[in-house]
Subunit: 218 residues, 2 copies
């Protein structure tokens, strides 16, 4: 039930951060009310789509005036759980892992990265963006001590599944997977995949088409 | 026409890097031939889906034997344009931009980042992962000199559209957008959006559900 709900709402959930951005911008320009039509125009969407998406947060707009900006922001943040703190660890403190540790936008929205893990001895015992780095073979020891809710997986692909197994074994239920491996996890664990290779594949195909069009038009 | 084609093939294109990964792994384990069924099992997909996706690269499998691994890898890489080099710039050399400059997997697949741009005076003139960093207000001067095909946009949101305008003005047709702004570009320019806020929204909602389930079951 929970899983089905998650899947059908997924596109709406994915759009909420964009709405939040537009609403905050409108508010900082002095807007006390924000209409679904304004948000829709700004993001090139249909107004009915925006109103349906916002309805999942439980807020209802006022005819002709729209939504009170302050309440709308709070409703979206509350629905997303961005108004409370979520303890997280980063497994793999390479370039991408380090970048995520320092990403202010996630911090502002409740992501509290309390530890990092890496195999590189020169990193172990140091801090990256203030986050202490532990040895990656200490996952089984450190996770039960600090009890994070979320694991962010940014290790090289060959180590993805074995580190995932440690994460799952120690009771973490949410994994943000930045590797290009499809992780095998029990049904009780959710994986959010962020596959940069997929995005790069789309970009490459787009770029080839653009080059072809340029050649044909010249 | 080109755009419609791109859209309808998008899910297939997005899966190709995962296939590539599975095929390379099978090959390194000594497999000369790889079957669609093996790939499908490894990635939890239907074999017919895998065969349809692979068909867009032009390769046809042999009944009972599958695909010759070497030819299949080459066909996917060629279709994606990963067998040739694409000159790119990174606009915004913060944590994420720096991480992308050092990402070996993209380098291996043809992404050649030749310059970075940032507003921070302490970075200008330096190199990050070997990539020279220029002042961000020199975009209009440097782009025509080095003629990149791709711009990777990793600036803070308030600067996204204005930097995008410089990129477009100087003839770049492919933009990889890591900001949470929906960029306004002419039809001739393609934007691939990589919205980490969307992923984080999904992760947060998943995490809340997991916490709720845990509480209900305990």
């Amino acid at each position: 039930m929970a899983t089905k709900q998650k899947v059908s709402f997924a596109p709406s959930i994915r759009r909420l951060p964009q709405y939040l951005h537009v609403i905050r911008q409108a508010q900082s320009n002095g807007g006390e009310y924000v209409s679904g039509t304004l948000i829709a125009n700004e993001l090139n969407l249909e107004p009915i789509q925006v109103r349906k998406d916002l309805a999942i947060t439980g807020i209802i707009g006022k005819p002709k005036r729209g939504y009170p900006a302050n309440e709308l922001i709070k409703a979206i943040e509350h629905f997303l759980g961005w108004d409370i703190s979520h303890k997280a660890i980063v497994v793999g403190a390479g370039n991408l892992g380090s970048a995520l540790m320092g990403y202010q936008e996630f911090k502002n929205n409740g992501l509290d990265i309390i530890a990092g893990f890496d195999a590189d001895p020169s990193k172990i015992g140091s801090r990256i963006h203030g986050v202490p780095i532990h040895a990656i073979d200490k996952l089984d020891q450190v996770i039960p001590e600090i009890q994070p809710e979320i694991a962010i997986l940014t290790v090289p692909s060959p180590f993805a599944q074995s580190n995932c197994d440690s994460i799952v074994r120690n009771g973490i239920k949410s994994i943000w997977n930045f590797t290009n491996i499809k992780l095998k996890v029990p049904d009780s664990v959710s994986v959010q995949r962020e596959d940069l290779s997929s995005g790069y594949a789309m970009l490459s195909v787009m770029t080839q088409m653009a080059t072809k069009n340029k050649a044909e038009n010249s």
